[in-house]
């Protein structure tokens, strides 16, 4: 399957999940203008790759890994929409389709430049939030500094709250208040720490994770401030911090 079409699927599922619903094949078929059998086939393939969790008749929900990939492309998409709408003054109805065509070829470098030129916008013209970039920076200055230290690709990160039970990853950075940040570090959630999602309580309750041989519960809101690198191999945070924390 081409990476472009996977990206389209990820994006479509992400948009539906964003409303708090699972993506049903029927709705995906309508949104992507693809026949239902091909949708079923593709979603199953994505489930095999660990990008979605699929339950027949209920629909698909992105895993942590799926979310990380989706957020990257959704970010590009929504930044492009902003640009087309604000700068190029394209009509509102057209920006979505235009952005869809451009997003797959947009490099991370250009994305960062776009973000800076648009002054780091929070939402797209549809008022949907633009996902955070995966560098853990607060402003353009820090972004530039961080970007100067990494290779071509930015790391694949997503919020801890988006991981599914059983998924693992490495803490990339924490974006929270000083107090909570301190507390999370005290409990062992320092950058580079390996974590495993154990359980998520119903009704948007806390998540239970395994970290450093202990079990920890974090409120869902707090877990949404902890960014996890979900790449299978290689730990790009090491590329950012050559002298960074040691971890086996």
């Amino acid at each position: 399957m081409s990476s472009e079409s996977v990206e389209e699927y990820l994006e479509a599922i992400y948009s539906i999940n964003e409303r708090g619903e699972k993506a049903k094949n029927q709705e995906l078929a309508e949104n992507l203008k693809v026949s239902p059998p091909s949708i079923t086939q593709m979603v199953k393939r994505m489930a095999n790759e660990g990008l979605v969790e699929y339950e027949p008749y209920k629909g698909a929900a992105l895993t942590g890994k799926g979310n990380a990939l989706a957020q990257k492309v959704v970010r590009k998409h929504r930044l492009l929409e902003r640009f087309l709408y604000d700068y190029l003054k394209l009509p509102f109805e057209k920006v979505h389709d235009e952005a869809c065509r451009m997003e797959h070829s947009l490099s991370d470098e250009t994305t960062a430049a776009l973000c800076k030129a648009l002054d780091n916008p929070d939402v797209c013209p549809d008022n949907l939030p633009i996902p955070h970039c995966s560098l853990g920076v607060d402003d353009c200055e820090q972004c530039e500094e961080a970007r100067s230290k990494i290779d071509v690709e930015t790391p694949l990160t997503t919020q801890l709250s988006r991981l599914h039970p059983g998924e693992e990853g490495v803490v990339a950075y924490i974006h929270s208040g000083r107090h909570s940040g301190k507390r999370l570090q005290d409990m062992g959630l320092t950058p580079g720490t390996h974590i495993k999602m154990v359980n998520a309580a119903p009704f948007k309750g806390p998540v239970e994770i395994e970290v450093r041989g202990t079990s920890l519960a974090l409120g869902r809101g707090l877990a949404a401030h902890v960014y996890i690198n979900v790449e299978d191999e290689g730990q790009p945070w090491k590329r950012i911090h050559p002298h960074g924390p040691h971890h086996s």
Binding site: D186, G188, T193, A201, P206, I240, H243
Partner: protein, 641 residues
């Protein structure tokens, strides 16, 4: 060297520290508060080989920063009171995280002994710890213990006593660039503090508010130097210094722990099987409801039984007292003003607090409390709290006093205050008596339900407002999920007894004094005056009979008595003869909300001081009066005249 030795017990929560403390000191202990702080201070004594040893059980913490009052208390104790030895209790099953705290303790350069506790449970998990190797790695003796069985404790104390003769330990050094920065700052520190200079330097780099204040106020130029060093490190690492040093500590802890640990095949314990059920999305809630209800039921049925017993006892005393001394003005006044206040405290608060302390610590020690907090977190967020606040708020339905005291399970002062405030709004059993006895009986059951609904709505609104206006940053739920284990009954029992004693000692005088003032005012004829002053509010705004003013004042002492008092002042227990249904609704509403009873106020004072207890009481009075009047004016529109 003095003959008396002081030992501080320090460590994370849930490591069995209190069990060790209890095993060592038995009944020779005292539970109080740290001066000026709402943190429990347990100290005890022990005679070992003819020497007297004083042991302080420090609160369970994860760091020595200023995150919680417990942390501040602990670090001040170690640096200022300077105990001869610190015994750091660590959980063998979670060595890495526990050692990260050990590394921090070592920054304070005390004489340190490590108690590697629950070494048997760790073995079940497949973790074998070589304590000798661990000691070597740390540069401080480490001994295996199983506190619940008392294993290894004699060796532990013997080692600690021997340590008093040796020098304090050296802190473990971090990476060279960090140490260089620390060294640079250390050399520039001119202000004398009780803390070691290296520790002060680290804390300055970490932006520790307290230490910054002490140092920078006296020596402002230091800020610049620290700032430079911090920026140097932060730009090299790409993270803030807090993150860098935390990573360093954990990296050290990880290295030491792995060098001293080997693994065998783990066994799935019964505890783990229960854990699976307890976190199950359906069975978990079933298990929670069943256990909470039974806990609740047992606390209050036992409390009721005990309260009845105490009441009977005082009734007998009452008769005997008047038979012996005769019913004169003086004897009556003495009984009403002095003895009655004491009885009130004994009957209202004490019977429920004992079992409450017991059950709460059993829930906490068994590890179940964490599961409940986990399941209830999102629901509690709607009222400005997080999952841990569920138990105190729930207990409030029985009695607000244990609920306010239970707010201590929240970590930060902010969360504790919100929790106690919310808990004081929950209709306790005494208030339910008024609602049921008056509104449900005379107006109708659905109107009683309406009052509860209004109260829950108030809790919801006021909880959210408190969440917004309370100072400091809100912190979500971050807690360890300890495995299930059998709590140690002797530790829990002893601790409960000493806590109960402290409560009686601290809160009883406030309750007695409150009663005395009201009775004195009554004797001096001040109540009529107050009734007159209050009548624009009670009669004018709230539309209640004028006797209600006095009743509401007495209601502060014991809310369930307001009904009886109102009846006796009116000369009949048939309330429908002198009150309209709307008046009953308003009266019950005001009683429900207007002010915590004197026992709850005493508990609030004990936990938060007079100012905050005063603010909470004032807010509730204002809300009750304002909304009571509004209710009176709205009731006709919803069908109640």
């Amino acid at each position: 060297m003095s003959d008396k030795i002081t030992i501080g017990l320090a460590g994370n929560a849930n490591v069995g520290k209190s069990v060790i403390f209890n095993q060592l000191t038995g009944l020779h202990q005292h539970v109080g508060n740290w001066p000026g702080k709402t943190v429990e201070r347990a100290e005890g004594t022990l005679v070992f080989e003819g020497r007297e040893i004083e042991i302080i059980d420090l609160p369970g913490i994860y760091s020595l920063s200023t995150y919680s009052i417990e942390e501040i208390v602990s670090r001040e104790y170690i640096a200022v009171e300077h105990p001869d030895v610190i015994i750091n209790v660590v959980d063998a099953g979670a060595l890495e995280r526990n050692l990260a705290f050990t590394v921090q303790l070592m920054e304070l350069e005390p004489r340190l002994v490590l108690a590697v506790n629950q070494i048997d449970l760790a073995e079940n998990k497949g973790i074998i710890i070589d304590t000798e190797e661990l000691g070597k790695q740390l540069g401080a003796p480490a001994l295996p213990t199983v506190a619940i069985k008392g294993t290894g404790l004699t060796d532990l104390v013997a080692t600690a006593v021997k340590m008093t003769e040796s020098a304090s330990i050296n802190p473990i050094l971090y990476g060279s660039e960090i140490e260089e920065s620390i060294e640079t700052i250390k050399d520039k520190i001119e202000v004398q503090t009780p803390y070691p200079a290296r520790w002060v330097a680290i804390k300055l780099l970490e932006r520790d508010d307290e230490i910054e204040e002490i140092l920078y106020d006296a020596h402002p130029e230091l800020r610049e130097i620290v700032e430079q060093e911090r920026i140097k490190m932060e730009s090299a690492h790409g993270h803030d210094f807090g993150s860098i040093i935390a990573s360093e500590r954990f990296a050290l802890a990880h290295r030491i722990a792995s060098n001293a640990t080997s693994h065998i095949e783990p066994q799935k314990s019964i505890g783990e099987k229960i854990e699976d059920i307890a976190s199950h999305p359906v069975l978990g809630y079933v298990m929670m409801i069943v256990s909470i209800l039974s806990v609740f039921y047992s606390i209050f049925s036992f409390g009721d039984w005990l309260a009845g017993l105490i009441d009977t006892f005082f009734a007998v005393t009452h008769t005997a007292y008047f038979n012996a001394l005769g019913e004169t003005w003086t004897t009556t006044f003495f009984w009403n003003a002095v003895v009655d206040g004491f009885i009130g405290g004994m009957v209202v608060a004490v019977p429920y607090i004992g079992p409450f302390y017991l059950v709460l610590s059993l829930l906490e020690d068994s590890g179940y409390l964490a599961r409940v907090a986990y399941l209830m977190d999102s629901a509690m967020h709607t009222i400005g709290l997080h999952g841990k606040g569920f138990i105190p708020v729930m207990l409030g339905f029985g009695c607000n006093v244990p609920a306010v005291l239970g707010a201590r399970i929240m970590e930060t002062e902010r969360e504790r205050l919100i929790c106690a405030f919310v808990a004081s709004l929950v209709p306790c059993a005494a208030r339910s008596i008024v609602i049921m006895g008056l509104v449900a009986t005379y107006v109708g059951f659905k109107w009683a339900v309406l009052l509860y609904v209004i109260d829950f709505f108030l809790i919801f609104i006021l909880g959210r407002i408190a969440y917004k206006v309370a100072p400091d940053e809100p912190v979500g739920l971050i807690m360890e999920m300890p495995g299930f284990r059998l709590p140690n009954l002797s530790t829990t029992g002893t601790r409960t007894w000493f806590k109960l004693r402290m409560f009686i000692k601290e809160a009883m005088p406030i309750m007695v004094a409150g009663n005395f003032i009201v009775q004195l005012a009554s004797v001096l004829g001040l109540l009529d005056v107050i009734e007159g002053i209050m009548s624009p509010i009670t009669v004018g705004w709230l539309g209640l009979p004028s006797a209600a003013g006095v009743v509401l004042i007495f209601g502060i002492l014991r809310k369930e008595l307001t009904l009886i008092l109102l009846g006796s002042l009116a000369g009949t227990m048939d309330f429908s003869t002198f009150m309209t249904p709307a008046q009953m609704m308003v009266f019950a509403f005001v009683v429900m909300v207007y002010v915590p009873c004197v026992s709850t106020i005493a508990a609030l004072v004990k936990e938060f001081g007079y100012t905050k207890a005063g603010i909470i009481s004032a807010v509730e009075v204002i809300v009750a009066v304002v909304l009571g009047g509004v209710l009176l004016r709205v009731l006709p529109f919803i069908g109640l005249a």
